[in-house]
Assembly symmetry: C2
């Protein structure tokens, strides 16, 4: 039986997270860790989802699972909604088996959820020959995630769909940044999970208490992103990494770093990284370090010795990809 | 035989270090850890110095010591010069026994050297009934330290001589800040020594590479100090401590924090501190945490568990004090 297949990459924010909420730009890159989704028709109208994180069957919004874990529904719901959104868009009513395989760590700011949504939309679209454009895939995945996650910025879905490095501005147009060299990145996962919403809220409260100070910090972040975009275009990794270091300090000032994030950032640099910062919401999750070319494994070793889980990655120039399999 | 005795307090910088080099103000407080110096006449014209850190005899600039340690001269030289500066000021030529007892950790940014110089000047002045004013003591101690340390800002000597909390501006006048409450501070010593000059130079280099970004950061630091002065006047420790947290992030951005400093700052806050930051030059040395009133021992415990040496202190309203003993 024909299968629609798709992969979509994870992401890491290189500069500007949090301050993006206040209108400053951010730089985010797709990375070569992917979610893969396959979709094939099944009898009836139910959507059956299998994944490493659990499986279950949706009949409309009704959910059945053999798993005892209640969390499974929360994990599978966005996949169901992404699937359904494509069926609705194509005006189809079908039963589907959807399988998700992902090597993206979950809940640590690497855009796992968005990569899965994007790949799901693309796989289902490809199965029914929907000829969805990348923009369509982005929009459908974003709509599906809005349903589940409230009001996501769209940055994750965008970079996963289009790939590459994006200069992103909330509510504005994103531009793709060309970088003439590889980005030898090393992610360091603290293993601490966190809730993005709570961290965004804690920064908002600090902003409310100290608006002048925080507005000045936000401007510094905007300046960092501008300088960073220029450095990337020149392939000046050393300068870009110094900006990452400074950005980490701003995030410390915003109150979102933790002992583990600081420890991994120092460990990465002690092991030879040019610079390092927390990436994403903070409060746990990951750091991202810029290595010198060819030195990623040393940096990874340093992160590991400091208690983190290192993940060696490169930027991914390609976003979502889909194909048919027999 | 009559002894001139004096004590002078250590200091800790609460807000604004490093950025003070670029013209922004800083807030520094004297703390209730003191150096004590006693001076008495001895036959001849040599100056014999005894201290916990070593002892030796100066005949003019010639130095003799029974200690094998070469470092001793470097430690005792400022004491000799402080002593000599008072003798010169009073136009006296005498032999002296000078004894130094200090409970201020050395080389970690708490102003140990300045407190000793200030107390030395005051003790020698008192011995000869020099009726030195506090301003005289400050000036003589600063001149003596200039001879040894190149071009010190004078902040350490000033706060040690006058006591209290100072709003300090490089090359300008300092004003004393009144704070209606105690400051329940806890110092956390990493035990890592560092060279202030090297750290000031590293910030200068970052400033040279990224002047726009660094100038913006410097302005944020200035804003923090203004807000901090207002919070102190109201006795709003919570707000002041939040500004300390933000200031720590700026110092991370300036590149002067270390894994140990970040670790102790997090540990202090996890143990209940309202806020914490590195204090002084960074690159090692100490953090300073603002505790809630009555909770200093809990914060100290947290710092200890994280591998630091905790020192519970309060602001010292009194600066240098001198008296005669028989």
């Amino acid at each position: 039986m024909l299968k629609g297949c798709a992969t979509a990459p994870a992401k890491t924010i290189l500069l500007g997270e949090h301050f993006v909420v206040y209108g400053e730009p951010a730089i985010v890159t797709a990375i070569d860790r992917k979610a893969k989704v396959t979709a094939q028709e099944s009898p009836g109208t139910s959507i059956h989802i299998t994944s490493d994180l659990g499986c279950g069957t949706f009949e409309g919004a009704d959910f059945k699972t053999s798993d005892s874990c209640r969390k499974v529904r929360r994990i599978l719901e966005p996949i169901r909604i992404s699937t359904q959104s494509v069926l609705d868009y194509l005006k189809l009513k079908r039963g589907l088996d959807v399988n998700v395989e992902s090597v993206i760590p979950v809940g640590v700011g690497l855009g796992s959820s968005s990569a899965i949504s994007v790949a799901t939309v693309a796989a289902v679209g490809r199965l029914f020959d929907g000829r969805l454009s990348t923009s369509d895939i982005f929009s459908l995945a974003l709509d599906a995630e809005k349903f589940v996650h409230g009001n996501p910025s769209g940055i994750d879905q965008q970079v996963s769909a289009f790939g590459g490095i994006l200069l992103y501005r909330k509510g504005g147009t994103s531009t793709r940044l060309q970088c003439p060299v590889e980005l030898p990145l090393v992610i360091g996962n603290t293993g601490e999970s966190r809730t993005t919403g709570r961290l965004v809220e804690s920064v908002r409260q600090r902003h409310e208490r100290l608006p002048n100070i925080m507005n000045q910090l936000i401007k510094v972040a905007g300046g960092l992103v501008e300088e960073g975009a220029a450095a990337l275009k020149k392939g000046d990794l050393q300068r870009f990494a110094e900006l990452m270091d400074i950005n980490h300090g701003l995030l410390v000032s915003a109150g979102v770093s933790t002992e583990a994030l600081d420890r991994l950032a120092h460990a990465a640099k002690a092991a030879g990284a040019l610079g390092a910062k927390l990436t994403g919401a903070g409060g746990g999750g990951c750091i991202v370090a810029m290595s010198e070319p060819g030195e990623q494994s040393k940096v990874a070793e340093g992160i590991k010795r400091a208690g983190g889980e290192p993940i060696i990655v490169e930027k991914a120039d390609t976003g979502v990809q889909s194909w048919l399999e027999k």
